[in-house]
């Protein structure tokens, strides 16, 4: 086994963890806003968030690539502040992952928010608790299963994404070569044994994570 054998996995894990954590900070305010605001253009925002579900990853990746390059509008900004472009860089993968995994985080959260009884929120308000405190102490704790589901699906989806990552990240060792890309790479180089091992690890990992979640969720729902 070469010393760089585990690199793609470490990179994948790092990408998925960072993406999921950031998605909580982005997804919760978005889902909260979509649930409780009454503005008319809400459906536009909902459609934009759901886009990654229906767009081919290569389309998404292509536009990201344009936007992330040195001349792209996000890429130029990034280049100015951080001194490197986003395309073919780990940072670019994180931003891309956040966008394409956003619906996988937001949709379970939306269901969670909608299931919280209005009277619980109103009760907290009459107790003098502000909106933020009510969110933190009453709303979020009562939708734990949705929060777990959102996080796990977003995490798993980030681990498994291939098309977008290939378009914006390419295939740079220890920078953008995540596990799914590494498998493709090994197959292309006819290293079937390595491809097999990589695939099996991803397979087992995905199964283990889903199993854990369903076990945990089952208990959560039963209220133990």
């Amino acid at each position: 086994m070469s010393p760089t054998f585990w690199e793609p996995f470490a990179l994948t894990l790092k990408l998925a963890v960072i993406t999921t954590v950031l998605l909580y900070f982005i997804g919760i305010p978005i889902a909260y806003y979509l649930t409780y605001s009454k503005v008319r253009f809400k459906s536009v925002l909902e459609a934009v968030i759901a886009m990654p579900l229906v767009l081919p990853p290569s389309v998404l990746g292509f536009y990201f690539l344009l936007a992330f390059s040195k001349d792209g509008f996000i890429g130029a900004f990034w280049n100015k502040f951080f001194g490197h472009q986003l395309a073919f860089h780990f940072d670019g993968l994180v931003i891309g992952s956040i966008i394409f995994s956003l619906p996988f985080m937001v949709h379970p959260l939306l269901n969670g928010f909608k299931a919280v009884e209005k009277s619980q929120i109103e009760a907290a308000y009459t107790m003098g608790k502000g909106k933020f405190q009510t969110l933190l102490k009453v709303i979020l704790p009562s939708m734990k299963p949705s929060i777990i589901t959102g996080g796990v699906i977003a995490f798993a989806h980030t681990v498994g994404e291939f098309g977008v990552v290939l378009m914006i990240g390419g295939n740079i060792d220890n920078e953008t070569k995540v596990a799914s890309i590494a498998i493709y790479n090994e197959v292309e180089a006819l290293n079937y044994t390595t491809a097999h091992i990589y695939s099996l690890i991803l397979f087992a990992f995905s199964f283990a994570i889903l199993w854990f979640v369903y076990m945990k969720l089952g208990r959560e729902v039963k209220g133990v």
């Binding site: 009884e117 009277s119 619980q120 109103e122 009760a123 907290a124 308000y125 009459t126 107790m127 003098g128 608790k129 502000g130 102490k137 009453v138 704790p141 009562s142 734990k144 209220g223």
Partner: protein
């Protein structure tokens, strides 16, 4: 004292309602808001709590303006100091009973929360999670939690409607005692006449979007225009012709009785009509059932 002088347009069960209400609730009194469903009883409570906006008017509590449409004042529910007991209780499932109470307090005060639970005889429930409690217990906790807020006014939205008759009767007694023990000003929504009688000093009867009658329950429900000794209000459940007479089946509260009518009397009635069943010239016999 809570002063209410508001108007509100809303969709009730029988179409658009122009709600208009002017009333003062004095401190320490127990008022029930009585009337058909969809008439605006809950809406009135919600407007006082700040959970719903009146179309226009003024709401004041002890001289403090909570709402004034002409001055564009609208205090959020957070600043109104009301205790609201919801029909669904709205207990926080992620907190224990005791935590529900301390969360409701303006400043966390554990001994005081315990004191409330003890005074209401439910201290042994303090570490339980609400989902493990029975309906009656949940109702008590919801009440205790509202009291922990030290509210200027306690608002109860049909708090006993989800309970069976025996539990309801027991909790009515407890509710009355709690109101007196903690010297509260209480407004309770109810559509149950016996509940109004049992609990409240005063009652507001709402009809057609405004006050139909206000006063003591006696003044409201014992009509003075008949000299009957014995009178109940009920609903006709069935009308059945038998030879030359008609038998009306009337539901009065939890009971169902049959009343014999002649055809002329029956003509004016239909299934679903609200009727009063009264009798003059006999002495009712009361014995323990």
């Amino acid at each position: 004292m809570i002063k209410v002088d508001v108007t509100k347009k809303f969709h009730g069960s029988s179409g658009e309602i122009d709600f208009r209400l002017i009333h003062e609730f004095k401190s320490g009194e127990f008022w029930t808001i009585f009337g058909e469903s969809g008439i605006g009883k809950t809406t009135l409570l919600r407007m006082i709590a700040g959970l719903e906006l009146p179309t226009s008017g003024v709401i004041e509590a002890d001289g403090e303006v909570w709402f004034d449409s002409s001055k564009k004042i609208n205090l959020p529910p957070q600043k109104r100091k009301v205790g609201f007991v919801f029909q669904s209780y709205a207990l926080f499932e992620n907190m224990s009973v005791l935590e529900n109470l301390t969360f409701a307090q303006t400043k966390r005060d554990l001994p005081k929360a315990m004191q409330i639970l003890e005074k209401m005889g439910i201290a042994e429930l303090k570490s339980r999670i609400p989902s493990t409690l029975s309906g009656g217990q949940k109702q008590r906790i919801a009440l205790a939690r509202a009291i922990a807020q030290e509210p200027k006014v306690l608002l109860l939205d049909e708090p006993l409607s989800a309970l069976d008759a025996i539990m309801r009767s027991k909790l009515q007694d407890e509710l009355k005692k709690t109101h007196e023990d903690f010297a509260l000003t209480t407004l309770m929504v109810s559509h149950d006449r016996s509940e109004v009688f049992k609990l409240s000093n005063y009652a507001l009867w709402l009809k057609n979007g405004t006050i139909f009658k206000a006063g003591t329950p006696k003044e409201l429900f014992l009509s003075k225009n008949s000299s009957s000794k014995f009178s109940f209000t009920g609903e006709i459940l069935a009308l059945e012709q038998r030879d030359i007479i008609v038998v009306a089946t009337v539901g009065i509260g939890e009971n169902i009785v049959e009343v014999v009518l002649d055809k002329m009397e029956a003509k004016e009635l239909a299934v679903g009509s609200e009727v009063s069943v009264s009798s003059k010239a006999f002495n009712p016999i009361i014995k323990k059932s």
